[in-house]
C-alpha cells in the first residue's frame, strides 16, 4: 500500500486528540496514510481551508457543516460529517467578579447542577450576562441557549458574543464579556491565569453532546472513498486508544508538545481525566465522561443529533431546517468503520435525551452499550417527523 499524504486542518484543542494520536501513534501509518496536520488560528480558517480545497479533511465544530447546509454563514460548500471526533468537553465559566459575588451569596461551585447555577447567577447579576463563545455556530452556543431558556436566567437573560478562546482572559479582564463557554484547555487556562472560575461542564446540560466532527467535502467523499475509509479507520483506532485509561499520560504529553497545544501536560490531563480544577483556590471536581472519544458509540454520527442541531439553529436564525440531517453520514460511517470489527447500532436515529442509564441496544454484534444522553431538564427530542 503506497503511503498517501492527507492535509488535515485542526484547531489546537484537547478534542483534536484523535487526529494527533492517529498521526503520532502510528494508526495513520498502518492505514497507509500520512497526516499533514495544519493548525488553524480560527474556525473560519478551518472551514475555508476545507471548502476551498487547501485540506481534504478537518476537525470541525459539529454545527458548522449543518449551518452551511442551511445557508448560514459566509460559505456554503457541501460538507459531510463522516464521524464524530469527540462527545462533550466544554466548560462554562464566569469572571472573577461574578465568582466573588456567587461565593458571597453562598454558592458552592458544585459543577453539577445547571438549575442551581442559573438561579444563583440570576440572583447576583442585575443586567443580562454577556457570554463569550468561540464561534456563532457551535455546540457552545446551543448548550448555553438551551440551559438559559429553561432556567432562571431565561432566554433574554444572556447575550452571546464571539471571542477567540486565546483572547478570552483579556476579554474578561476588559469587561467585554462576563462569562464564557469554551473547549479545553481554555477553561483551565482561564482558571490558572486567575481570570475566572468554572461553573458547569457541558456534560451537565446534555450528557452526550456531539462536539467536534471529522468533516470532508461531500464531493471528495464520493471521489476518494478509499482514502476516506483509511482516514476514518485511523481516527477511529486513535479514539479507541484514547479511551484506555493507561494511555492518558502519554496522550497528555503528546498533545502538550509545542507543535500541537503548547500548554503543560498537567493542564491537558485535567480534561482527559475529568478531574477539573474549577477555581483558582484549587477546588477540584470530577466529571465522568467529561470528554469521550470512543465509548458508547461516541464516534457514530447519529442523524438525530444532526436533527437536534438543525432544529436549534433553525429556531435561532429563523431558517428552514428540514432535510439537512444527511450531513451526518451514518451511512459512510457504517461502511468505512465496519472493517475494524466495531459494533454498530441497528438504527441511525434515536430519541435524544431518552437514555437515563447505560443501556444495551440492538446492534450488529449485540455488544453495544449506549451512555446516558439526558438533557438536564429531562426533556426529550424526537427526530421523527411530526404530522
Amino acid at each position: 500500500m503506497k503511503t498517501v499524504t492527507l492535509p488535515v486542518a485542526y484547531v489546537p484543542l484537547v478534542d483534536a486528540a484523535p487526529l494527533i494520536v492517529a498521526r503520532e501513534m502510528g494508526f495513520a501509518e498502518s492505514e497507509g496514510i500520512s497526516l499533514d496536520l495544519i493548525a488553524a488560528p480560527s474556525w473560519s480558517s478551518v472551514r475555508d481551508m476545507l471548502a476551498f480545497g487547501r485540506v481534504d479533511a478537518a476537525h470541525l465544530l459539529s454545527p458548522v457543516p449543518i449551518a452551511m447546509a442551511m445557508g448560514l454563514g459566509g460559505v456554503t460548500t457541501p460538507l459531510s460529517a463522516v464521524s464524530v471526533l469527540s462527545v462533550n468537553g466544554n466548560v462554562i465559566g464566569v469572571s472573577r467578579e461574578i465568582e466573588e459575588k456567587l461565593r458571597d451569596a453562598g454558592f458552592g461551585f458544585d459543577f453539577t447542577d445547571p438549575v442551581a447555577a442559573s438561579d444563583a447567577l440570576s440572583r447576583v447579576c442585575s443586567k443580562p450576562l454577556t457570554f463569550g463563545v468561540p464561534f456563532p455556530f457551535s455546540m457552545h452556543v446551543e448548550l448555553l441557549r438551551y440551559w438559559c431558556e429553561n432556567t432562571a436566567l431565561g432566554a433574554d437573560g444572556i447575550e452571546i458574543r464571539t471571542v477567540p478562546p486565546p483572547l478570552m482572559a483579556d476579554a474578561l479582564a476588559a469587561g467585554d464579556v462576563d462569562a464564557f463557554c469554551v473547549g479545553e484547555p481554555w477553561g483551565s487556562v482561564a482558571v490558572d491565569q486567575g481570570a475566572g472560575a468554572l461553573l458547569l461542564p457541558g456534560h451537565a446540560i446534555w450528557q452526550f453532546a456531539p462536539e467536534k466532527v471529522l468533516a470532508v467535502r461531500t464531493d471528495w467523499a464520493e471521489t476518494e472513498p478509499n482514502l476516506l475509509g483509511r482516514l476514518m479507520r485511523a481516527v477511529w483506532h486513535a479514539g479507541r486508544w484514547l479511551s484506555r485509561p493507561e494511555t492518558r499520560t502519554t496522550a497528555s504529553e503528546l498533545l502538550s508538545r509545542k507543535e500541537y497545544l503548547d500548554v503543560s501536560p498537567e493542564l491537558i490531563d485535567r480534561a482527559l481525566s475529568g478531574n477539573l480544577t474549577v477555581t483558582s483556590r484549587g477546588e477540584q471536581r470530577h466529571v465522568p465522561h467529561f470528554v469521550e472519544f470512543h465509548a458508547g458509540a461516541a464516534t457514530f454520527p447519529w442523524r438525530s443529533q444532526a436533527k437536534w442541531i438543525a432544529h436549534r439553529l433553525g429556531r435561532s436564525h429563523n431558517v428552514e431546517h428540514d432535510s439537512v440531517a444527511h450531513v451526518f453520514r451514518a451511512d459512510l460511517n457504517r461502511r468505512h468503520i465496519a472493517p475494524t470489527g466495531s459494533d454498530f447500532p441497528g438504527a441511525s436515529e434515536k430519541v435524544e435525551g431518552s437514555i437515563r442509564l447505560e443501556t444495551p441496544v440492538a446492534s450488529a454484534r449485540g455488544q453495544l452499550t449506549l451512555l446516558p444522553n439526558s438533557f438536564f431538564d429531562g426533556r426529550v427530542f424526537d427526530p421523527s417527523p411530526k404530522d
Binding site: S42, W43, S44, D48, L72, G73, P134, T162, H317
Partner: protein, 194 residues
C-alpha cells in the same frame, strides 16, 4: 455613478495597516478605514457600514467577523465571505495571498475587483516579508542553540570549537536529523542533568 465603496481593514500592526490603506487609496476609488484594536470588533465594523471588510486570513479574531454574516447580525445588510463564482478565480487567489474578504450582499463583481486586486497584491507582499522575518528569527534562534551545544561539548570533552561542531554535525548526519535538533536535544538533556 455609484457612490464610493467603503472598505474596512482589520489590522493591528500600524505600519502594515498604513501600507495597505495607501495601496487601496491609490489602486481603487474607495474610502478606507482601519480598525487596529479588535475588542468588540463586529460592533466597530458595523459603525462604518462598510461594503467590504478585509482581514488577514491567519488573524485569530477572524471568527468575530462571522457574526456579520448573520441576518440578525450588527450590519443592515449581511455580508458573505467573498467566494469564487462572484468573480472567477479571484477568491482562490485571495486565499493564497492570505487575505479574506467579506462583501455585503448584492455588490457587483466589477466593483469588488479593483479593491480585491490591490488588496491581494499588497497582502502577498506583506506575507512574503513576514515569512522572511520569521525565517531570519528562526535561523538566529537555531544559531544560539548550536552555539550553546558547542560550548557544552567543549567543556565536557575538553575539545576545541571546531571539533565540537564536527561532532554535532557527524551525530546529526548519522541519525538523519537536523543539526539544530541535535543541538537542542543536547541543551535540553544537559539542563535536565545539570
Amino acid at each position: 455613478m455609484p457612490s464610493q465603496l467603503t472598505v474596512v481593514v482589520v489590522e493591528e500592526d500600524r505600519d502594515r495597516a498604513i501600507a495597505i490603506v495607501d495601496a487601496l487609496k491609490n489602486g481603487a476609488d474607495c474610502n478606507v478605514h482601519v480598525i487596529g484594536n479588535t475588542s468588540g470588533l463586529a460592533r466597530k465594523i458595523a459603525e462604518f457600514a462598510p461594503d467590504i471588510v478585509l482581514i488577514d486570513i491567519d488573524h485569530p479574531t477572524r471568527d468575530m467577523l462571522e457574526e456579520l454574516t448573520l441576518a440578525s447580525g450588527p450590519l443592515d445588510r449581511p455580508v458573505a465571505m467573498f467566494v469564487s463564482g462572484a468573480a472567477g478565480g479571484l477568491a482562490q487567489t485571495a486565499i493564497e495571498a492570505g487575505v479574506s474578504a467579506y462583501v455585503v450582499d448584492g455588490l457587483s463583481a466589477e466593483r469588488i475587483k479593483p479593491v480585491m486586486d490591490t488588496a491581494i497584491a499588497r497582502f502577498r507582499m506583506v506575507r512574503q516579508m513576514r515569512n522572511e522575518l520569521a525565517e531570519t528569527r528562526r535561523a538566529l534562534e537555531e544559531r544560539k542553540v548550536i552555539d550553546r551545544a558547542k560550548g557544552l561539548l567543549m567543556k565536557a570533552k575538553g575539545i576545541d570549537e571546531g571539533a565540537a561542531y564536527a561532532l554535532l554535525r557527524k551525530t546529526a548526519m548519522d541519525q538523519g536529523r537536523r543539526l539544530a535538533d541535535v543541538a537542542e536535544a543536547l541543551v535540553t538533556a544537559s539542563g535536565l542533568l545539570g
